[in-house]
Symmetry: C2
Subunit: 221 residues, 2 copies
């Protein structure tokens, strides 16, 4: 209770219906044993509110960028690791009621918190939270990895990375691509799967960067 009050101060929002905040801070492992509500429904809602808000805000703030850039930038802002770190910063790790697993993913709790604010106060308050705690930080879109590994590979090996589609899965309208990235003649490669070739390439690029011990920028560390 005391902890939840402090959380309200930290986020600058006071709940009319305090039980919404309690539910948002209740993991299913805790709720299940006690037969009370957990945060999952609020997380479902908060995820939608978050994606919408980020999409609208970056659409407006980047009138000259194409949809690829916008998609990548949105991915970076709704990224699990990024949200998990925000959850940590807000102290949700100490507030969340759970039993069982020690390493709870706090990104879900952040989304549940957004969902709770949306229900309790309406869209504007949820938007304010997202602007203040999520969009306020300038981050780079995910796709930078492909450009970055190219630069790094040219610098170290004087060779560019080669991407190859290894497999395609799934029905025509919902294909998945498995891609392998190699640096020709070097013993370094990476394989990843993505909903688009670009997504899979991005993932392999990130793995290569790690293998070369090159620090990957926020929020994908």
């Amino acid at each position: 209770m005391q902890k939840l009050k402090k959380l309200e101060e930290r986020i600058g929002y006071r709940f009319k219906d305090f039980s919404l905040l309690e539910t948002a801070m209740t993991h299913s492992s805790y709720a299940h044993e006690r037969n009370i509500q957990s945060y999952e429904r609020l997380e479902f809602l908060g995820d939608a509110v978050l994606n919408f808000t980020v999409a609208v805000e970056i659409f407006r703030s980047h009138p000259d960028k194409d949809e690829h850039f916008l998609t990548d930038l949105k991915s970076a802002y709704v990224n699990r690791n990024y949200l998990h770190r925000l959850g940590k910063k807000l102290g949700l790790g100490e507030i969340l009621r759970h039993s069982g697993p020690k390493n709870i993913r706090l990104d879900q709790a952040v989304e549940a918190l957004i969902g709770a604010i949306y229900i309790d106060g309406g869209y504007l308050y949820a938007k304010n939270f997202i602007k203040k705690f999520i969009l306020s930080k300038e981050i780079k879109p995910l796709k930078d990895y492909k450009g970055l590994i190219k630069t790094v590979s040219m610098k170290i090996f004087n060779k560019d990375v080669v991407y190859k589609v290894e497999k395609e899965f799934g029905p025509p309208h919902k294909k998945m691509f498995q891609i392998t990235a190699k640096i020709p003649g070097e013993k370094i490669s990476a394989t990843a799967i993505g909903k688009t070739k670009r997504e899979a390439e991005m993932k392999t690029s990130k793995i290569l960067l790690r293998k070369l011990r090159y620090p990957t920028p926020n929020p994908q560390t």
Copy 2:
């Protein structure tokens, strides 16, 4: 021009900025050659508006359902095939300006149209469009497939389907699962990949249903 006017009538919304509607009905293949704007940015925005609206509406209309049900139901409403059929019904196939590919996916144009309405008239008009043309139809959540194939398999073979995780890909926080579904002792199986085991199981169930020539319910025909 005449066609676009008729589209306005059909959807019951008149654009203040008519060029937004024109852009929403311009495929990249057409735009590219002429160096004009295509619908992709609007599609990015419309996709976010659509997902948000569907999530909020079904969250409210199904207070007793858990997040799995909500996720599956949302997937069914934002499903590409479902939106493609709506695009067809609205006559977008004849309106969309494109050159090159014959089988244009109209789901993207529907999303672009939603994005255009959102920009032109604000959220309420976009929401009205979504309620009128997308949420008005009662559809079943995707997960029914698993229950359906079970019923069908019991009826035909007197055996239940067995699902097996064949592979796991990706980093711990973004795992992908490859699952194979079999009916023991029968020469029928299906393999699919999903972000969750449930999603992969659902996909294999759908494939099995097709193989058994069992009609899969809307909107996943």
